[in-house]
């Protein structure tokens, strides 16, 4: 007669096979469970990507106002840019509004935009390279109806007289604040930069703080909703299989095998549900904000980097919560005396 021995530990592949077979068999039910994960993660993702979209939209709107303002200040001095030559003297890194201004000038029909870098030769920054014609500092203002000093940096002493010799009555504009103070005397200079008043800065800071708090709050709430959504559907799907777990135990399954089954199954369902949920959530957020702010604005201001970044916590939440919600009841059932597990009816 055979003596009692240790039960074999089945390899991972067997567990995986059993899980895949199980998912295939109860595909409909697995889909329902995954839908719970999809909903939970979609909610989280729509909140998170909504924050990104809102930030992007408000940034974009600010940028547009800023550009428009600089453009109208400039055109008030030099007239419409159509068929005009404009010189750009770059003294430091450009900000987005300056790039936009160059683009707007070009779009509005400027004949040429001469570009020169004060600090040396160097090529134009890639974002404007297509729009400008590179020249030297001496020639940048030739025939120009305006010379714009752009970029964040200090402006050294220049021979303004020679520089502006060929361009009578050119408007010299500075797009950033710090340059203005250092310009040579006698050169009429239009400041296109806008200086914020202290109370405006304060209001902005306050608004930023408020929205940071609002975002945090929304994120917490959406995490709670996601938690409930996912754990509810996974808990359901496991508890309705208590009897099955009991049966498997009676037939000689090890608890570790049962746990492994549910670990694999829940992480698969969690992963599929989380990926689908994140996409659904993103699409919903885009549609929602698109209908509010207009699709062109939303789509053009979408920060894909930040959105891709938020996929990480969404996937982590989807998989992590699914595994937790499944593994706890599964190992509880697996630890139960098998005879008792058979009787449980939940």
């Amino acid at each position: 007669m055979e003596a009692i021995r240790e039960q074999v530990r089945l390899p991972f592949s067997v567990a995986f096979e059993v899980v895949m077979q199980g998912i295939r068999i109860r595909f409909g039910r697995s889909l329902v469970t995954a839908t719970g994960v999809v909903l939970g993660v979609a909610f989280l993702m729509s909140i998170l990507s909504g924050q990104v979209i809102r930030q992007g939209v408000s940034h974009e709107a600010q940028l547009r106002t800023e550009t428009k303002r600089m453009f109208s200040f400039l055109t008030a001095e030099m007239g419409p840019p159509k068929d005009q030559v404009i010189g750009v003297l770059q003294v430091g890194p450009l900000n987005e509004a300056e790039v936009r201004l160059i683009r707007t000038l070009k779009e509005r029909g400027a004949k040429a935009i001469n570009w020169a870098q004060l600090t040396g030769q160097g090529a134009a920054p890639p974002e404007v390279a297509r729009l400008v014609t590179g020249t030297s500092v001496e020639e940048v203002a030739a025939e120009a109806s305006s010379l714009l000093i752009m970029g964040q940096g200090s402006l050294p002493q220049l021979d303004w007289a020679t520089l502006l010799a060929s361009s009578a009555q050119a408007t010299v504009g500075a797009t950033q604040k710090q340059e203005v103070a250092e310009v040579a005397p006698g050169v009429p200079l239009v400041s296109l930069a806008r200086e914020l008043k202290p109370e405006e800065i304060e209001a902005q800071a306050l608004e930023q703080k408020r929205s940071a708090f609002r975002n945090l709050w929304m994120t917490i709430i959406s995490l709670v909703v996601t938690f409930i959504c996912i754990s509810n559907s996974l808990l359901m799907s496991v508890t309705e299989r208590f009897k099955e777990i009991g049966t498997m135990k009676c037939l000689g399954a090890l608890s570790s095998f049962v746990r492994r089954l549910f670990l694999i199954e829940s992480s698969l369902i969690g992963l599929v549900g989380a990926v689908a949920g994140a996409l659904v959530g993103l699409v919903f957020a885009i549609i929602g904000y698109g209908l509010t702010f207009g699709f062109p604005l939303v789509l053009s201001s979408l920060q894909w980097g930040a959105i891709a970044f938020y996929f990480v916590p969404c996937l982590a939440a989807g998989v992590g919560l699914s595994v937790m919600a499944a593994l706890y009841p599964a190992s509880f059932a697996a630890r139960m005396v098998p005879g008792t597990a058979l009787r449980t009816n939940i």
Binding site: I4, E6, Q7, E244, G246, T247, G252, L254, V337, P338
Partner: protein
């Protein structure tokens, strides 16, 4: 020298006993189910020795503790007190690993409620314990089909339990119990839902397992034919074993057995 026939007989009986060692021994097994403040004493000191290769039938009214006794002697539950030995080993001393091995290889269960996995086909239900035993999937498939054919479900191997009649489910459960060629079969009313003919076939099958392979069969039943085929009959009432008899000692015609 004259041979003392009486002594010789005693000698032979002893040899016979050695050939049939005790495969399951329950000693003063008690089982109390607690539900809140209420206590249900399902077993109250049941002791029984079951010998290797015998066919033991268990009778008793509903609620007398038959299923509970099966659970205790099959390693599916822990007695509140008392001991259960399988092959002289106290199963309370086994770790979870050895218990799983025991449930998988040593004992085949036929549950009163079948406990088939509803989402799996007949074949998958039968091959599941083989997978737990580490058997190769191909071999398991072949063996599973052979067993299902043996219990008359050859044409239903890919059906799910929900698509089968009660009797067919019962036969599937029997097939599953045979999956890992166990030494012991614990059958909780295995013919309850079968017609006379199929029931007889199952009884025939169980008897053959016993005769040809020396499988020990313990079966709860009220089926006359089963009782007649068994080696011993045991009565259980209110969680106590009240009587043990050989079928020849019982007059089945007068309803002595209930």
């Amino acid at each position: 020298m004259a041979i003392d026939t009486v002594k010789l007989e005693a000698l032979f009986r002893k040899v016979e006993e050695q050939q049939a060692p005790c495969i399951i021994r329950a000693v003063e097994v008690e089982k109390v189910y607690r539900m809140g403040n209420e206590e249900v004493r399902a077993l109250q000191g049941a002791s029984v020795d079951i010998y290797k290769g015998e066919y033991l039938s268990i009778m008793g009214p509903s609620g007398s503790g038959k299923t509970t006794l099966f659970n205790m002697i099959g390693g599916l539950g822990k007695p509140t007190s008392g001991k259960v030995y399988i092959d002289q080993v106290d199963i309370a001393q086994l770790d979870y690993n050895e218990l799983a091995w025991l449930r998988c290889r040593k004992v085949g269960y036929i549950f009163q409620t079948y406990n088939l996995i509803q989402v799996m086909t007949c074949l998958e239900n039968v091959t599941l314990p083989m997978a737990f035993a580490g058997m190769d999937a191909e071999d398991a498939r072949d063996k599973g089909i052979a067993i299902l054919q043996m219990v008359g479900l050859g044409d239903r191997i890919l059906h799910k339990p929900g698509e089968l009649s009660g009797g067919q489910q019962q036969r599937c459960a029997i097939a599953r119990a045979l999956a890992n060629s166990p030494d012991i079969i614990l059958a909780d009313e295995p013919t309850a839902n079968l017609d006379t003919h199929t029931g007889e076939e199952i009884i025939e099958l169980l008897s053959r397992l016993k005769e040809e392979l020396g499988v020990t069969i313990v079966s709860a039943t009220h089926d006359l034919k089963m009782l007649k085929r068994s080696d011993r009959i045991l009565w259980i009432e209110d969680g106590r074993i009240v009587r043990m008899a050989h079928p020849s000692e019982i007059d089945f015609s007068v309803g002595d057995f209930d």
